[in-house]
Amino acid sequence: MLPELGHFTLILALCMAVPLAVIPLIGAARNNQLWMSYARPLVCGQFVFLVTSFACLAAAFLMDDFSVAYVAQNSNSAMPVQYKLSAVWGAHEGSLLLWALILSGWTFAVAVFSRNLPDELVARVLSVMGMISIGFLLFLLLTSNPFARLLPNSPLEGGELNPLLQDVGLIFHPPLLYMGYVGFSVAFAFAIAALLGGQLDAAWARWSRPWTNIAWAFLSAGIVLGSYWAYYELGWGGWWFWDPVENASFMPWLVGCALIHSLAVTDKRGVFKSWTVLLAIFAFSLSLLGTFLVRSGVLTSVHAFASDPARGLFILVFLFLVIGGSLTLYAVRAPEVVSKPVFGLWSREILLLLNNVILVVAAVTVLLGTLYPLIIDSLGGGRISVGPPYFNLVFVPLMCVLFVLLGFAPKSQWKRSSTNNLKRELFMAALASLGVGVLFPLIYGGELHLGAVLAATLSLWIAITGARDLITKGRKSGFGRLSRSYLGMQLAHFGLAVCIIGVAFTSIYSEQRDVRMSPGDSLELGGYRFQFDGVKQVEGQNFSAQEGQISIYQGDQKAYLLQPQKRVYLARRQSMTEAAIETGFTRDLYVALGEPLGDGAWAVRVHYKAFVIWIWMGGLLMGLGGFLAVTDRRYRIKAAQSEKIPVATDNGVAEVSSNLGAKA
């Protein structure tokens, strides 16, 4: 009964989305208050129905209702309850339902938090989000219904969630990632609404800023979690593979990052308006493209799901409509937007423009590398793949330029080029970072590794210039009075500096050995001695495992015991590697079991990972910076101030129209 209710409420949600996409839009075009006022109730309705639908699916999982095909494929009565719940979004249908739910959640949030904005704008924004929602709800209902039943021959026991996904990281990774992906739909909707209304002004940018920041912060957190999950769960010790699906989340992140900076310029200085709109369109289009790449199975990827061509076609058409439609609208409307840019060569505007150029170019090169195999294949050039060397070769130089420029940012000023005494200050910072940047690799690594020097110098350059500015500004106005958006920026930039160290030092100073080990064998790596003491049999709730016992000695002292597992999940006899990690501030010790080689010997993978945790700490700091910036009071106060007069009249009209609505 519940699955039918879920299916029915899904259809009802679509019945809300269709009028939502049409009525408020027409209302805004004709300046009809009544029609515009339909937007909020429809948004609430859609949200409530989708929550109900999602809850029904979750209930089907918790109650082990294996007559539902999706549940039967991805759950099993022996699975721990938290994984039953995360299995709801563990495969295609459920994760799309989550997508739709989050989209309606964002729409709802816009409806709630935009009471101070002009009615027309809100009506248009909500309508555009309704259109996107129609696309995804149709996709769900037509090609991937999660509530389809297996009747009358329903199985007594389900398959199982892919063991790789039975992990805490996977409970949170998809929702966070989707919050980010889908969050860009808000910036997109604001951009389209502004284009439709022909009001591309600074106010538009100010309203989209918090939404963009928060979406980007979620996306950062999602990517960090995904990367960490890959590190400890895939058992290879890698943290980023330039896999098409990783790229799919990374491209919107890069463009979203550019968008945040470009919105700042548009908000503060009223320039780059059309460029900002274009970026907002790109950021969301790349999110959709990401969904397409993951769902259609056109690319060879570790993430690819067994897939169905009809689904790929649907998303491709949808993608074409969204991108084609919005770019056409842009082409028609953007030339009307005129701004008079006046700023010096080294002004903050130019620096932020360079930031945008580099980030977008980086995203384009990632896109090129990701789609190149598809292009070549469709031109009949055979099956190819583009490996990590391509991405590293292109990406690293671009980022180095970006990091150098970032150091100039805090000292730069709007409009004006910076003056001479600032140059001296920056010169000192550069000298200090180069000095420490050379010394550190010498002391830590014992030799002058060029890559390490470059990374340490760039990281310190960002950190020092940022810290200097923070101290100067803090002394001038008092640390407590620094705005949260400023602190957020500082935090995010500092996170980047941390991340650079992590990425570079991990790839330079890590050591790895794959060896055959019999009980009693030991090996030296990174100043530690790893001794293999054989394996124990261990039973889990839905798996049984061989657990390796590996003692790690520091000198003669036994320092740690690591217990990596080789699990066999009982439902489908799938085997899985569970690595064991001893995490430290400057290094991780990482051990994973390969396969048994007979006579008690095992293939064992041992890593010494230098500074690896810094990658994710840095990523998290960036995300936190984004969240912190959103809490800045200026977004709320200024929105209220600038709209004070229209709000008063609008409320009057809105009351009248809602009375009319009640009578009708």
Partner: protein, 150 residues
């Protein structure tokens, strides 16, 4: 020149320089770093270049996996049911590697026509077939029914 024009010209030049640099880098990098896929039939016919990093894929032949007792060296055969290629690998095979499963290996063809693999990929999902392998099997005349389990 009018200051605004001059400004715009500078911006355009900046952007062009950035794009130019990136496109140059990207094309260079692409040239160096693409790996072509070859099916066992193509490798046996000698179509695959020697000593170049390529990708090869097929089904692991039942009973062909042999391990060296002293090290991590392992050898096995992959097939598209028309031809078979020997693969040698030194390292840890992925969890989902097993006989009868579709895999993709990345490596170099040696003088004797074997593939010295540097990486063996099997996918997360046991029902998932790498698209290249599906293609290769179909070209060799073997459709889905031959390998799909259950």
């Amino acid at each position: 020149m009018h200051p605004i024009r001059k400004q715009r010209l500078k911006i355009v030049l900046f952007i062009l320089a950035g794009f130019g640099l990136a496109v140059g880098l990207a094309l260079f990098a692409l040239q160096e770093n693409i790996n072509l896929f070859y099916s066992p039939t193509q490798i046996v016919k000698g179509e695959a270049p020697q000593n170049t990093l390529i990708r090869a894929g097929g089904m692991v032949v039942e009973g062909s996996v042999k391990r060296d007792p002293q090290s991590l060296k392992v050898s096995f055969q992959i097939t598209d049911y028309a031809e078979t290629v020997d693969v040698e690998f030194d390292g840890i095979l992925p969890d989902l590697f097993r006989e009868g499963q579709g895999i993709v290996a990345q490596g170099r063809i040696s003088g004797s026509g074997d593939l010295k693999a540097v990486e063996v990929l099997a996918k997360h999902d046991e029902n998932y077939m790498p698209p290249e392998v599906t293609d290769a099997l179909e070209q060799a005349g073997y459709g889905k029914d031959h390998y799909s389990k259950e």
